[in-house]
């Protein structure tokens, strides 16, 4: 992977996600950190992106809306979206999967759980 966009309003959460991505072998990818969905959309449109990792609960534009915009855009629909959230349960996961999320993970994440979900994209 060459470019990954990480969207979370918490700098701490972005740091944890970045560390986990580095630990599972994606440290060479360019990582773009943004604090909300709107900014994530703008950065996704700048350059081809291989992965979007997003939180759900964010100001300005939340992760669910971001997912809908990405999957509704012909230019971005191919970008795999991983949702990492503290507000997820089976019902939410089913909804997000239906909307096109590649994977949904609960916080706090670990490198092992992230690797398990991302392995198909890394091969």
């Amino acid at each position: 992977m060459k470019r990954i966009v990480i969207a979370d309003d918490s700098a701490t959460a972005r740091m944890v996600i970045r560390r986990c991505l580095e630990i599972i072998g994606l440290g060479d990818a360019g990582m773009v950190e943004v604090p909300n969905g709107r900014e994530a959309l703008a950065r996704l449109k700048e350059e081809p992106t291989d992965l979007l990792v997003t939180d759900l609960n964010m100001p300005i534009m939340d992760g669910e809306t971001l997912l809908k915009w990405v999957k509704g855009s012909p230019k971005l629909t191919h970008v795999p979206v991983v949702v990492i959230t503290s507000a997820g349960n089976p019902a939410k996961e089913a909804l997000l999967t239906e909307l096109g999320a590649f994977a949904v993970l609960d916080k706090p994440i670990s490198p092992a759980t992230l690797l398990k979900k991302l392995e198909p994209l890394m091969q």
């Binding site: 701490t12 944890v16 609960n57 503290s86 997820g88 349960n89 609960d106 706090p108």
Partner: protein, 158 residues
């Protein structure tokens, strides 16, 4: 208030702190809870749907800095206060999500507000409430829930 719910609360806090900062969380009573000589910082978070409640997490700034040392390694001095608020908010956000995952039926989704952080002591809203106390590395951590959504048949105030 069932022991099961107490265990859900303990588990949510323990998993969050163990995974993020490798710290052990020990339940305490009023008598055994440690006292901190350091000033506290609190974060509050609203549960918006399907129940209405407020969660408040309070811990000494010293403990917060220890957690930041583990997660961020070397925070820049000029960002210290911002990082403290961010870390506390993220801790509460994660604890709240884990607790609601255990409490709300799996086929029902829920909605949380955004965490708000302040150094003031929290003023609890009206309604039943309960407070849990823990020892984390010799420092006190307090978690409180206010609102009838979690306590439908109780009127708890600890």
């Amino acid at each position: 208030m069932s022991q099961n719910f107490d265990e859900m609360v303990r588990n949510s806090i323990a998993v969050t702190l163990e995974n993020m900062a490798f710290m052990e969380v020990l339940p305490q009573s009023d008598e055994t809870a440690p006292e901190s000589a350091h000033s506290n910082m609190s974060a509050r978070l609203l549960v918006l749907d399907p129940i209405q409640a407020e969660m408040i997490l309070t811990l000494p700034i010293k403990l917060l800095r220890n957690i930041i040392d583990v997660v961020h390694a070397f925070p820049e001095e000029d960002l210290a206060e911002q990082i403290q608020a961010d870390m506390l908010g993220e801790l509460l956000n994660t604890v709240a999500g884990r607790l609601l995952n255990d409490f709300i039926p799996g086929d029902q989704s829920y909605r949380l507000g955004l965490p708000e952080v302040s150094q003031d002591h929290p003023v609890l809203c009206d309604g039943p409430s309960k407070t849990w106390k823990y020892d984390v590395e010799g420092e006190p951590l307090t978690f409180a829930i206010v609102g009838s959504g979690f306590f439908p048949n109780d009127s708890v105030s600890v």
